[in-house]
Symmetry: C2
Subunit: 476 residues, 2 copies
């Protein structure tokens, strides 16, 4: 093994302490409330974490049935990771004590650092200097921390009301706590999550560290990241390019405008990046750029559940021509072409209903004319999926309010499941939010992602095609 | 009254037949099912329509307790409007019979016209020729019709499972049935709807007719429209410009790309418009262009419930810096500036918590530090709203899972209600979809629009500012 590889391994080992610690200490208040050490301990006890937890605070004896130690020195074993939730002014002192006890990794939840004022900026600089000098790694300060769903490690410092996660292939990282359990209803993400990381002020552990760690994380198949600043542009380009050639890397970057860039600098105290430079970096690195906060959670679903498209020809099956036109507009942005159906498919569909054998395949007139024809819906969907001209499918479903046609859709999806190696994205509309949501749940439980907006469904496929091109070269 | 005004009035009188008919006939099948004349009659009986309904079909005697007439000639009174749901081939013949009985307005639900094939195109041409020759007006063909919530006139031909609407100021028109009751859960739109119109193939009644009708409709304060094609560009520019100087006109236009334009032509059989020309038209006319299907329903909420901003200075109160940065990026697209707080406001806020008196006003650190400080939330919100530097507010709320802090928000909104003539838009996030949705409902019930995405909330304010500038001139 050469030196570079060795260094890389040891670096990853460093980061893994944050996600796979066997023993942790929490230094802060354990007062009952919706935020703080009290909540971290509660969350860990409920999330299934199997490691040892050492709460530390001279003012407490016990929290949630656990002994509270007066200081880190009294903790009987060296811990892998320490959570710090004390006043910013005292953080360096406590980190020093911990380091003297052999601790190497810290999640500094405390705020009041570079994001607050000049004084906080100095405190952060002091903290980082000490860490660098003594080989310590830090997430934060000003962070809501991390989650690892593989080992039930959910030390969320804010009360979220739920503690467990569906284990899945999506890693979500951000320079904000907006992606931590208290901010997002993760139980609704049916394809699950692998890791969550809030970089906070990103004084030490940054986007490159996480990309490297996730690159080799067998639980992570897709990385979704919100960034306000980039710590080291050149390093980022190299790292992202390497990782993005293996796993899709989605990035939402704020500070795109002059005004936003100014605000991002004051939010977490980082340095702004010219958006044109960042855009060029994304293109070079094969990063999939996303544009809204909701996409951070929605777009990964296609990568978490569907095969990559083997070509850019997008089939559309719909109940309404209007959405098909909007979809075609959107598809063009991602170089997705709408193919003609093969003769065999076209003839088969036209025999069911005149005109049905034309792309986009519009079920609407069939339904309005003869509801019985709809009984052949599973065969219609299968015919389009089997067509060699079709590499991916955007399927629009109408969920009626009684839900009696839902069973036919389920039958159709069961029919195409595992039969074709082509991605399928679905959008559902209808007069009843309850029907729509029931159908969405049933399809996602069967492994088919459903998107809240038609444009997002197409964008997900578009980015899947872009990633396939980066990874295997364009094959249109 | 001059001749032009006279003509305009008579024209509007023509369009009003579609929305305020006293007597209507329905010609089609009355077989029980989810689509057709059976559903129209059922829908009208449940929606509170007070006019007379004459079902027409020689094969039926009765439907929903109403007598079915064998032909239009047997209907005892001349009707204002006829719904046609029969095979495309027979439509012209039936229209002719109706015209001979004095009918002047038709909603042709039947499909199989220009959107289907060449034969259908000829049928549509024949239909239009006859209509023009005899002074008839037609909506459609290939339409799901109209709704008027003012008189309970909801003749939806598809079963939607609900029949009544909240009466409100938003008119929704589209070149697709995607905006009719069967396609959208209107009961969730808390600010209500005035009129719905599906243009269908738009062979006669078009966007200009509807704009003119809605211009004078006292029930309509904002017009939201989806278009695939424009019938007469020059006329559209003139009409839209006049209407948009009085009421906000939001337009979602598909066929933006070459591919989409091609598809739009085949969807309803119209003519494509170069997107650059349409973009220029929008700028000239003061049309507010929107970009996604969801925005068609969401953006109007700001116009339906909030005063227009009197300047472009956007205040932000948030629980998270990350969303503030994204919001500032978005705001810049609409020339919304983020002001500094006035000294009085800043001092007041800094006294509550150090650093709170800086825009964007971030409640997050306050909450994490001292929950009691949050009891002053109503005073914090009022202070920002009262600041002369602030013309509009983007408010980000965190709904915790227990919902116990929701009451404080309600108190705060009650406090600012009717106190300031400044628009407020809200985005809510949190770990529980139920809490988020409960809070959203309670705020909207109090007249404050809540948006599903932060970017949409900002865009709504941005377009409100754009409309204010069109209407009153820019006053930044």
């Amino acid at each position: 093994m050469d030196e570079a590889e060795n260094k890389k391994r040891s670096h990853r080992g460093n980061v893994s302490r944050f996600f796979e610690p066997r023993r942790i200490a929490i230094i802060g208040s354990f007062k009952e409330g919706f935020f703080g050490g009290y909540v971290i301990v509660k969350s860990l006890m409920n999330s299934g974490y199997g490691g040892r937890i050492y709460p530390v605070n001279p003012a407490y004896k016990e929290v949630h049935g656990l002994k509270v130690y007066p200081s880190i020195k009294e903790v009987p074993k060296t811990v892998d990771l320490v959570f710090i939730l004390i006043n910013a002014r005292s953080v360096v002192k406590v980190v020093r004590e911990c380091a003297q006890s052999g601790v190497r990794a810290f999640i500094v939840v405390s705020d009041g650092f570079a994001e607050r004022d000049l004084k906080g900026k100095h405190l952060q600089k002091e903290l980082l200097s000490y860490a660098r000098e003594h080989g310590l790694r830090i997430i934060g300060p000003n962070t809501a921390g991390v989650v690892n769903t593989a080992n039930g490690f959910n030390p969320c410092p804010y009360e979220a009301g739920y503690y467990k996660f569906r284990h899945g292939p999506v890693a979500v990282c951000a320079q904000t706590g907006m992606i931590n359990p208290q901010a997002y209803p993760y139980p609704l993400l049916r394809f699950g999550v692998s890791k969550i990381c809030d970089f906070g002020n990103k004084c030490d552990l940054d986007e490159c560290d996480m990309l490297e760690y996730l690159e080799d994380d067998p639980d992570t198949q897709v990385i979704s990241m919100y960034l306000e600043t980039i710590c080291d542009g050149k390093k980022f380009l190299g790292t992202a390019k390497r990782v993005a050639s293996q796993k899709p890397v989605l990035i939402l970057k704020s500070g795109r405008t002059r005004e936003g860039a100014k605000a991002s600098v004051s939010h977490t105290g980082g340095l702004a990046v010219d958006d044109k430079i960042f855009e060029a970096t994304c293109n070079q690195a094969g990063i999939l750029r996303i544009d809204t906060f909701a996409e951070l959670f929605e777009i990964p679903k296609v990568f978490a559940s569907q095969p990559l498209p083997e070509g850019n020809r997008l089939g559309i099956v719909t109940f309404t021509g209007g959405i098909a036109v909007l979809a075609i507009d959107e598809a063009a942005k991602y170089q997705l072409d709408i193919p003609s159906l093969g003769t065999k498919t076209a003839d088969f569909l036209d025999a069911i209903f005149p005109g049905l054998g034309t792309m986009p395949v519009d079920i609407g007139p069939v339904m309005a004319a003869v509801k019985e024809a709809f009984d052949r819906y599973p065969k219609i969907l299968d015919a389009v999926m089997s067509d060699k001209n079709v590499n991916a499918l955007f399927n629009v479903l109408w969920a009626n309010y009684t839900g009696d046609i839902i069973e036919r859709y389920i039958e159709a999806y069961e029919g195409i499941k595992n039969r074709y190696r082509k991605p399928v994205v679905t959008w559902i509309y209808g007069p009843s939010a309850q029907s729509t949501s029931e159908l969405a749940g049933r399809l996602e439980d069967r492994g088919f992602p459903v998107f809240t907006r038609p444009e997002t469904a197409i964008k997900a496929l578009g980015l899947a095609w872009r990633h396939a091109s980066t990874r295997y070269g364009a094959r249109t």
